[in-house]
């Protein structure tokens, strides 16, 4: 595309444009400019405040980098523990529920009505952000980690089921047919032809979702659904950025551990 062809004599060369049609190209450029102009016109920025902010951010960063683990330790400890336990239970429950749902959402295995029903659930659960779902659950269940647990489970089912179903739809039909041809029942076909083929992906998805669930669990406390989010917001609203920094460092450390774990598990199941 951008081969270094030299211009020889009169022949000129320019890189191939992304959009071939000249008019379309200009139209797109114009639209982009118009959009940016509209944005500039509608987003008002309080530059005085921003200037203050830049100055304040230095102090903030300084406090983050000198974290104070001690002063809110008992709250942070409980919060982090709650986040970890919530995400663990939600991942296990979500993944277990996602298995049958994904079978229903795989076009090559499920009858149409079941397919449509499971796909509707998947779309619903994947569209709404976890915090918003959590608000609804808190209204129904009251404050506490149980609402958070339900939120994360609800979201995990949709997430895992969707990706797993895609994987099931991609499996090798030959292996399915071979098992059917032996006189195997539907469940035996699933156990012998589907499970082995999707296992590595399934394990990978599960640990990945654990990672996501943990990260989400750190903010559900903002709407009262348990986890370390409540402590974190309290610390921030009181400008205890050194305590907040301590919590964030813990969160980052746990995410790192989870990422390492997921890499290890994924390479083990291949």
């Amino acid at each position: 595309m951008t081969a270094a062809t030299r211009a020889e004599g009169q022949r000129r060369w320019a890189p191939r444009p992304l959009i071939a049609n000249r008019t379309a190209r200009w139209l797109v450029r114009l639209l982009v400019l118009a959009y940016l102009a509209a944005v500039v016109a509608t987003v008002d920025v309080n530059w005085v405040r921003v200037a203050e902010g830049i100055e304040r951010s230095g102090r903030l960063l300084g406090q983050f980098l000198r974290p104070d683990f001690a002063s809110r330790w008992s709250d942070s400890r409980i919060g982090i523990l709650e986040s970890v336990t919530m995400s663990l239970v939600a991942t296990v429950a979500g993944v277990l529920i996602a298995i049958p749902v994904s079978l229903g959402a795989a076009r090559n295995l499920a009858p149409l009505p079941l397919y449509l029903a499971t796909r509707a659930y998947i779309t619903l659960s994947r569209t709404f952000p976890e915090v918003i779902v959590a608000i609804v659950f808190v209204v129904m269940m009251g404050f506490g980690p149980f609402a958070g647990l339900l939120t994360l489970t609800f979201a995990s089912v949709g997430f895992v089921a969707k990706l797993l179903a895609e994987d099931i739809e991609d499996i090798d039909d030959g292996q399915l047919e071979a098992m059917r041809a032996t006189g195997a029942t539907w469940w035996q076909v699933v156990a012998f032809a589907v499970v082995p083929q999707v296992m590595p992906r399934f394990v990978g998805l599960s640990v990945y979702r654990l990672d996501i669930n943990f990260r989400e669990s750190t903010i559900l406390g903002i709407v009262g659904a348990g986890g370390v989010g409540a402590t974190l917001t309290t610390a921030m609203s009181r400008y205890d950025f050194d305590s907040a920094g301590a919590i964030l460092i813990l969160v980052i450390a746990i995410v790192l551990v989870l990422e390492y774990l997921s890499g290890y598990v994924r390479s083990a199941v291949r």
């Binding site: 509608t42 987003v43 523990l81 336990t85 779309t123 952000p129 009251g142 506490g144 921030m236």
Partner: protein
Amino acid sequence: MPVRTVAGRRAWQRTSARTSALAFTVGVALLGLVLWSWELIARQTIWIFVQDAPEQALNLFERMLPPRWAYAEALLRPLWDTLNIATIGTLAGVALAAPVALLAARTTTPHQSVRAFALVVIVASRSIHSLVWALVLVFLVGPGVFAGILAIALRSVGFIAKLLNEAIEETDPKPIEAIRSTGAGPGETIVYGIVPQVLPAFAGISVFRWDINIREATFLGLVGAGGIGLQLNASINSLRWADASVILVAIFAMVLVSEWVSARVRSAIT
């Protein structure tokens, strides 16, 4: 060894006794951990509220339905803001992510210590939830769309840079060597050897992140960082549930449309 000879007949087991024992132990340990976690959550839960949940849910739906459609008109501006937060935030994130990725990739980093720093930036950006970023930025630059844009940008940097970093490390070294052997400097090597190879992946990742960002921009308003979340928060706080359901429908539609657009654009790119 799965094959043993028992009384002259060859017996077969799928796994050796040791592997089975190990799997059993890991399974039991995991189960114990999950049960213990559940126990912890259960102790924090007020079960009377949970028992009450079906009634609460019914009550909630009664108040939400029918949605007060007239309210939709008031949502146009918040939706526009949400779109801008996601789009401009993604653009800013992309602009920041490209250099970070170049510094983080083994093949392009100028120095190991720079690489380590870039990796820390990536991990921190990814581990911290956009809602936490939003909290910090509202404190720094004041509430509003601008804080939302910055939050989305800072959260996206790590995501985009991580994937881009992987794409860079997977580039084919041969063309890069060829460019270098023409006497090109490091900048030219990047422009001619690496950029053409990772450009499609880069574009794909950015569009993918934009779609995620639309979803995230819908709730930043919960902490004052602009977008439709602001209206959601206000309507819930004042118990205007018929308005809240209109907002939920709007969020649902917006996320679905963005997912569709993103899928279309990505399939057009690759």
